[in-house]
Symmetry: C2
Subunit: 781 residues, 2 copies
């Protein structure tokens, strides 16, 4: 029972007040149905239909939400398929799984490398141009050139995103997370989204927005995995028959988990971190075989990136410098020992990170709600918003450095000061030779380079206090207001950037009592802020370690992460969870809410229930498919086939459509026997990608056929998971979530009633639905 | 239905042949029961009782196996407890969870440090003595002293282990793995086992056995967690009332997962590796909250170890040198780039590692089976075996180095050559000044130091080919024959040792075409052999990275691990899985076996089924508790309480005992009402540690009370997970395993039958049981 936009949609408010009562209009509908001699069973529970959480915001539009089928449908056809499978096919299947993991790794690695090269070259060109004009003291022209580049790039990114694929806006991690939880929203992993995600992200980062390309990389990895997993895209004429072996959501889920891990691995060059990210943040279900395959994928990514970087070291990649593929070297900050003051400093950092992080999440939530009003007004408004934010960012970046004093270059440097070229620690900006503008070194660099500058060790006084404060405030605010505009925007980089600035600030406070380097403080600050916003622990820790390549930092990073997460958890949820919620994606939490212990499974069931007989009239089936949007229908064996009505199993809409299309009907109500199985190949019933299956419109049934019968047994899943209506809803939720179900049949406790009470789906466990039915629970919460 | 040592135990063989038939003797027993007017329901399925897999080898003894209760028992008492819980109690609970994680981290860290100090000092003393005597050319005396030390230490370890706690023998990881899967075997986590594990491991490693202290550390961590989790040990007079808050197996499982992670963290100083080990190898159930707490625990361990090492660097820890707390420095082997030949070399290593690893597992299996015959003969024989192996090891270590030629010391070394002191790369042994014996440097060192020597970079020719070959063969064979003797023996170190030797050998083969250092080859060899035996991937990879502190090695380590695991998986299972199986521990695999798809849940149910009425006669309950060893009994509501018999829920043996002890009986068959709930505190029904609950003998019921009635409703879990008898066994297994159940009720499909067909437990899913019932399936497998 996926969506119920039918029947009594208008009576919603009326029904809310009359929970437990039967609506007159509905009754009429039912009676009119029975007039037409159609045996759709009347709803057992006289409650309103579940209209909550059936839709969610994808990109800027509101779309209907379906669930994914992770359960193995054990019908006769499946069993026959499984029995007839030869060794070679099993081998082919295993080989393909690993082959696809390899391809995902290669693809994501290549995209990661390509987007780095592109960003470094585009942003590098822009920054070189600015540098040249500033050196010539052509300040106004410099501003115009800089602003012009930024706005053009931003507008291009915004246009792509707003007009081509709105689902590509934002980080993409919440969407991937929801998908891996079993939420099937249209176009979140479509080829169009992939295209816009890659190019929009390149343009957006090059435009100087305070956004990262890390979140988009995760989404990109997942999109690549989806594209390969469903054997290409029919819409774009890219189809590979050999990849069509995966025709179920379970295998695709595994691939997309690999893709998400590959994305992180490509973004941070952190293969282990990628695996842990997929495990801790992205995936809802995990098994150890998946650990291994994910690990393989990220290893491939690491090798691809490494090879290309070796190639680029020879200078053949244009302006691609150290900047691409971030890898921060804080090993210069040698830590042999640390004492009680150092630990105190880290704890202090953790607390600040927690507070700032949870406030960041709070602000992002508010800003997203505000932006959604603008976004609703159409694509042009979305592009306008992008341009406005771009102008704001450009102005900050260009004008704020004027507020900083020129600092004399430190003696005995190994690098030239002021910096020559597009990136470096010591930007000259408006300063005379021998001096550098520290704020310009932060603002007028790519974000990756700014972070590298902040992490740079040894020279404590490299940045003035005032510069750090200005930069922190700007980045914090820009990070908040940039997320949510129609541009692929990762959250990692803004958070690392802001975190490392206040880390360096705190380092300055503790400089007299702590032996730790200020560059190290910047790293710990980044860790604490990441912990405060994203609330991951092990994966962030490993990603930071892989970024800095120094395992001796581990205990300090751990402390700061743990403390900031603990502090922030007192205030609100992690930023990705918050966005998932905000978008209305029906995410199944791992643990049942406490109020669920007060309810039983029967309490959450919503009508109308539509059931079929084991051998059903074609007209009934067709009518049910037309009049409801349910995805699963219980099949009930009735006399003469059994002594009394009993639950035979569950049949899926998609399977029904295939069976109807094949038109194996009979004139009498009789079992079709096993011969029918031979007429189908298992691939006929395989689940195609999102929105690609047979549609009701594809089927034409003649008037004569309407009165014939169809045997549903061969396609009925005879082992659906069931719960008794009196089972506590909390335990039913655990069962539903742990096994990754889409439908759960609720059966009556006492005898003498129809054998199924209703079906629970993902939507029936959502807070909105349950608290809508039982508003009095709210207060107990 | 946990164990059925009752009824028809003697008819086992007879029954196997008459599957599906009813045994005459049993029938008589049932009829005699009904004569006595006891309403134990007759078994619905007339099959033999499940007598397989109810026992397992723990230490050297065969013990009965129970399961752990991970399911939340939602009876009225639980609900009342949950409702009445105040905020302060919830806070106390959370605080205690984190407090215990802290304590486990501290405890495991301390034990890890202590055992390192002890080993370094004992082994150091022994090696110094040997060195001195060898320098004086007092060869015979040297051998006697060396052998004497070794045999005394070995005998002490063996005696401790054989007489005090046989369960402490071996690695301990299989036992921890089984416990976390839900297997409750007596004494595997008892305080006695903890004591012997710590001291036995110290003595065993000091005695020069080819064993590690890493596996035992994992077991130690788990034991510490268990001790804290059940609030101390009554037997040893160590009880802490404040820790008694955790009275269910679910919370204890979480703690023991933390303990296992802490063990790895302490053994390898690898906090992230510890978390991943717990996730990949140890735990069967995982949730993200646990990830966080585990991470906290290992962070504490890392900090404790770091502080103590800083203390020891001041020279206050006796002979504690670099040797303790292994941390290998291969960063000297700088790898900037690697080419196709290097990758080929690594692939070659991986293949060798896979083949050698699976052969290692095969041999260990055979040796363990042989040893079990010796071990059965009694503790003295076990000690004798330990002494024999010790003599063999000593002879190898002392006499084989004579076969090596003396090598001249390399020029411009930073360390003295020959080595002065107890550890070092260049042991003089019998060689003249200016020369060293390379084989002695490997044999006459602690295993940790030998590994460090093998990993040492730069000097390719440090070890002669012949020496490496001799050492490899010796270590490989000794590693196999040492595991299984009555000494706590980790598998990590023998495997790393053997792996690094052949890694170095392969490095020598590729020296002309590969730019990689031979020390690096040793590391990769260790990785490949670990992959081939233990079949972990991510956790091993991270442990090795944390050991060597060089993340640039990652891709190479990954390749060698993945290839060796793939190759080895073609031959057999991982070594820990193999040992779990060998010991007969009823481990629930994550995935159902293919043959389970052919069967339905009803097929695996075994009798006799004992059910109770909602309000039952005391005599019936008592008799059922006496005559069976079942742990769970379905409760069936019958008229007059309901219209027809229906399944009310499931009641646990331990709860029944508490209720009987309290003697709230009534003379008539009536409901006791909710007042009874007030007379119990939730802690009365809390589950105590293994083997500590109320026993049947503690309860005395008078003849008069026997005829009274007892209301079982308040303690009945009204939401047991149920499956329909026609559900495929594979899906039932998934449900059982994913939710961590102990009992699963099987209900009939058709009406008009008793409301429960039987109960499935862990044992009913075991291969032995199912293939015993359906021998014809075997051939299809």
């Amino acid at each position: 029972m996926e969506s119920h936009e039918d029947v009594n949609h208008n009576d919603e408010e009326h029904d809310v007040e009359n929970v437990g009562e039967f609506d007159g209009k509905e009754e009429k509908l039912w009676s009119s149905m029975s007039d037409r001699n159609i045996s759709i069973t009347q709803p057992l529970l006289r409650k309103r239909t579940n209209t909550t959480s059936q839709i969610a915001v994808i990109g800027a539009n509101v779309c209907p939400i379906e669930s994914l089928d992770y359960e193995i449908i054990e019908n006769e056809l499946f069993k026959q398929d499984w029995r007839s499978r030869k060794k070679i096919q099993i081998f082919q299947y295993i080989f393909l799984k690993w082959g696809l993991a390899l391809l995902i790794g290669l693809g994501t690695g290549l995209v990661g490398f390509f987007s780095n090269i592109a960003v470094e070259n585009i942003a590098g060109f822009k920054l070189l141009l600015l540098n040249d004009l500033m050196l010539k003291e052509n300040y106004f022209k410099a501003f115009l050139a800089f602003a012009g580049c930024n706005i053009v790039l931003a507008a291009a990114a915004g246009t792509l995103c707003a007009f081509v694929a709105p689902a590509a806006a934002g980080s993409g991690i919440p969407e991937v997370k929801a998908y891996l939880n079993g939420v099937d929203a249209p176009s979140i992993l479509a080829p169009g989204t992939l295209f816009v995600k890659i190019f929009g992200s390149i343009l957006g980062v090059s435009a100087g927005f305070v956004v990262g390309k890390e979140g988009p990389m995760v989404h990109t990895g997942a999109c690549i995995a989806n594209l390969l997993g469903q054997g290409g895209s029919r819409k774009y004429g890219l189809t590979w028959a050999c990849l069509r072996y995966f025709k179920n959501d379970r295998d695709r889920r595994d691939l997309i988990t690999c893709g998400a891990a590959a994305g992180v691995a490509a973004a941070f060059r952190a293969p282990v971190g990628g695996v842990l990210f997929a495990l801790e943040e992205a995936a809802s279900w995990w098994r150890s075989a998946l650990l291994w395959r994910t690990f393989f994928t990220t290893a491939v990514v690491a090798i691809v990136l490494r090879s290309f970087i070796q190639y680029c070291w020879t200078g053949k990649c244009g302006l691609f410098g150290e900047g691409g593929l971030i890898m921060y070297d804080v090993s210069a900050a040698e830590i042999s020992t640390y004492g009680i003051f150092d630990i105190l400093a880290v704890i202090f950092l953790g607390v600040i990170g927690g507070v700032l992080g949870s406030f960041y999440n709070y602000c992002i939530d508010k800003v997203l709600r505000t932006y959604s009003i603008i976004n609703e007004r159409g694509p042009s408004f979305r592009v306008l918003l992008v341009v406005i934010i771009s102008i704001l960012t450009t102005c900050c970046a260009f004008f704020l450095p004027w507020a900083a004093k020129c600092t004399p270059c430190p003696a005995d440097l190994k690098v030239p000061c002021p910096t020559v070229g597009e990136s470096g620690n010591y930007k000259s900006f408006q300063c005379p030779p021998g001096y550098y503008n520290d704020l310009a070194s932060l603002f007028l660099n790519t974000n990756d380079d700014a972070i590298r500058n902040l992490f740079s060790a040894r020279i404590v006084q490299e940045f003035q206090l005032s510069s750090l404060l200005i930069f922190f405030a700007t980045v914090y605010v820009l990070g908040i207001i940039t997320y949510g505009i129609a541009v692929p925007a990762g959250l990692f980089i803004p958070v690392i950037l802001a975190g490392s600035v206040y880390g360096r600030l705190v380092g300055r406070l503790f400089v007299s009592v702590s032996a730790l380097d200020t560059g190290l403080f910047a790293l710990l600050g980044a860790a604490s802020f990441l912990g405060g916003t994203m609330r991951m622990t092990v994966s962030l820790c490993v990603i930071l370690l892989e970024l800095t390549n120094d395992l001796l930092l581990l205990p300090l990073v751990m402390i700061s992460l743990l403390i900031s997460k603990t502090v922030a958890d007192c205030f609100n949820k992690g930023v990705y969870d918050q966005i998932v919620r905000l978008k209305g994606l029906p995410f199944m939490e791992a643990h049942p809410e406490p109020y669920m212990k007060h309810l039983v499974a029967g309490d959450a069931v919503s009508g109308p229930l539509v059931t079929f007989s084991g051998v059903e009239k074609v007209e009934t089936v067709l009518h049910a498919l037309q009049s409801t949007k349910h995805n699963g229908f219980p099949v009930i064996d009735e006399p003469p086939f059994t002594d009394s009505p009993e639950l035979c199993g569950l049949v899926l809409r998609s399977h029904l459509l295939v069976l109807l299309k094949a038109k194996y009907f009979s004139n009498e109500q009789m079992l079709s026997g096993r011969d029918i199985l031979k007429k189908f190949s298992p691939f006929d019933f395989a689940k195609p990608g999102t929105g690609k299956g047979l549609k009701l419109e594809d089927i034409s049934i003649t008037e004569e056929e309407m009165d014939m019968y169809i045997d549903l047994h061969p396609i009925t899943n005879a082992s659906p998971y069931t719960v008794v209506e009196t089972m506590s809803l909390a335990k039913a939720q655990v069962l539903f979530r742990q096994l990754g179900l889409r439908h759960m049949c609720v059966v009556p406790k006492s005898k003498g009633r129809p054998p199924v009470v209703g079906i629970l789906t993902r939507h029936d466990f959502m807070e909105e639905h349950i608290l809508g039915l039982y508003p009095h629970i709210k207060s107990h919460k």
